[in-house]
């Protein structure tokens, strides 16, 4: 199913009341005197994609780093798959992280490893009883999913920006995550590559039934990939809604974003 078909379907068929996979209540986070998140509430259901928009430095990346346990919140609760992320550590946190895929803005591929080794790394380290043949099958399958089978023996430095992003996503998909966190998946890419990445995000949602948070400035990406869209304004969320509901012309806060992306840059 392509993006256009999916866009037509998503509004009329919201997720049918399944389990909440991420539940955030009154989340606050500051860096020194700079208040970044000031009482965030959010619920994400199983199989649901939500796009989080906002200005640079508004705390979008901080939000997903808190969800993945890379940062600790100052206050509030963050429940991921029923577990409070900031209250667990060690092996419990490690086990939870295996269910969360994190696609970094910079792709964060291991420079010293080939594509094959990058993909094998999380698998070998977390499923130590796997045979080499099984690992190779998993690598080939996930590379097919992202359409980059030919790059298997290349080094990250030999890949283009779009290819690096896709390999970064593939590295998380190999663990079959229940939740995907994308940090600026289309930043710095040309429009055609952006469309490929958008299609991949949708494919991941459908094929793996994963719930996703997509941090982005790119409204086309948000529109194409997300069931719901929200925006961080002064440390708080606008109430999540459909793309059309959030970016209606009467809302002055979101209008600037919309105009810049779709009409003109003045």
């Amino acid at each position: 199913m392509d993006v256009d078909q999916r866009l037509m379907e998503k509004d009329k068929s919201p997720i049918d009341g399944e389990n909440t996979v991420i539940s955030i209540r009154d989340l606050k986070k500051s860096f020194d005197s700079n208040v970044v998140l000031n009482g965030i509430d959010l619920d994400i259901l199983k199989g649901e994609n939500i796009a989080v928009l906002g200005r640079s430095g508004s705390g979008k990346s901080v939000l997903i780093k808190i969800i993945s346990g890379l940062l600790k919140p100052d206050s509030g609760t963050v429940k991921v798959l029923g577990q409070e992320v900031d209250k667990i550590n060690g092996k419990v946190l490690q086990a939870l992280r295996l269910k969360i895929g994190f696609s970094f803005q910079s792709s964060a591929l291991y420079d010293s490893m080939s594509v094959r080794e990058n993909l094998a790394f999380p698998l070998i380290r977390n499923k130590r009883n796997l045979k080499t043949k099984e690992v190779n099958i998993a690598i080939e399958a996930v590379l097919n999913d992202v359409g980059l089978s030919k790059t298997i023996n290349q080094m990250p430095s030999e890949l283009s920006g779009g290819q690096r992003k896709r390999i970064g996503i593939a590295r998380t998909l190999i663990m079959k995550p229940e939740i995907m966190l994308y940090d600026e998946p289309t930043s710095g890419l040309d429009p055609i590559t952006c469309i490929e990445i958008n299609n991949l995000i949708v494919k991941v949602q459908q094929q793996y039934n994963a719930s996703s948070i997509i941090i982005t400035h790119d409204l086309t990406c948000a529109k194409a990939t997300a069931n719901k869209v929200t925006m961080i304004v002064e440390g708080k969320f606008l109430i999540p809604g459909t793309f059309e509901a959030i970016f209606n012309k009467e809302n002055p806060v979101t209008k600037i974003f919309y105009d810049y992306n779709f009409i003109n840059s003045k």
């Binding site: 780093k65 993945s68 346990g69 890379l70 490690q94 086990a95 992280r97 295996l98 969360i100 994190f102 970094f104 803005q105 910079s106 964060a108 591929l109 291991y110 420079d111 010293s112 790394f121 999380p122 380290r125 977390n126 590295r171 998380t172 663990m175």
Partner: protein
């Protein structure tokens, strides 16, 4: 009068306990101690990253061999050449093997090898981890269910700590070989006579203290490199600074440790 009092500017609350530099120094000291404690905690907990440890030992040990061989050989050869005129004045060139063995085994081999390893491995570790930090590779490792401290830091510190004594012993032997070649060329001393004379003056304590020094230097180089790299920030500039600080700090601490350990060994000799 009341108005005047109101207009007096209220001074901001003092931000620092002592001064900024002193506060930073003690904060860094606390942070390094915490880092070292975490190293020991992670190093002795399962699972042990044995494969990566072997890989790092190869990187530190085998890949340093050419450089260590060259510097060790030249050190032994040049030290012998420079010492000869002074001993020749007293007709005591037969003491050269003893003098060289004491100098090389007790001081030169550990110090020169440690400084070479600090420059080569310390900068490498600092830059590698620093680069991984600023490009979010360490975060990526953490979210993929791997403990980056155990995988990256523990293995590197352990590898340098384990391999430096081996490199020091090797460097000592190569240095002695350089000395032998120079002595054989000038005094026509046979190899058995050289070995007999050289090792007669070396005690077990000299070897043990040399290994102990090398272990301390290795640990210092590993901790300095990993600490600087693991906490690198400010992009590529931070990576350069991490590599640079790792080398400078390691070298400084090696000399301080040399001074302390020599005092300690002399006291028990």
């Amino acid at each position: 009068m009341e108005q005047d009092t109101e207009n007096i500017e209220v001074l901001p609350r003092q931000k620092y306990f002592l001064s900024k530099k002193m506060d930073d120094f003690f904060t860094a000291l606390y942070s390094v101690n915490k880092f070292i404690l975490q190293y020991f905690k992670e190093a002795f907990s399962t699972p042990i990253e044995f494969k990566e440890l072997i890989n790092q030992c190869y990187q530190v040990g085998c890949k340093s061999l050419p450089l260590i061989s060259l510097t060790g050989f030249i050190t032994g050869l040049v030290f012998t050449k420079q010492s000869r005129p002074s001993l020749a004045e007293f007709g005591a060139t037969s003491w050269l093997p003893s003098l060289i063995s004491i100098a090389v085994i007790r001081a030169l081999a550990p110090l020169v090898t440690a400084l070479i390893v600090a420059g080569k491995v310390g900068s490498n570790v600092g830059a590698e981890l620093g680069s991984m930090k600023v490009t979010e590779q360490i975060d990526a490792m953490e979210v993929s269910g791997t403990n980056p401290f155990k995988f990256l830091v523990v293995t590197r510190i352990s590898a340098v700590t384990l391999m430096l004594p081996v490199l020091v012993l090797y460097s000592g032997l190569v240095g002695m070989l350089g000395a032998y070649l120079n002595i054989h060329q000038n005094e026509l001393t046979s190899f058995p006579a050289f070995v007999n004379s050289a090792f007669k003056t070396i005690s077990f304590l000299d070897i043990i203290s040399s290994i102990f020094k090398a272990t301390c230097y290795g640990f210092t180089i590993g901790v300095a490199g990993c600490y600087q790299g693991y906490f690198a920030k400010n992009g590529t500039k931070g990576v350069g600074m991490a590599a640079n600080t790792a080398v400078v700090l390691s070298m400084f601490l090696i000399f301080v440790e040399e001074m302390v350990i020599v005092q300690f060994v002399n006291a028990i000799r």
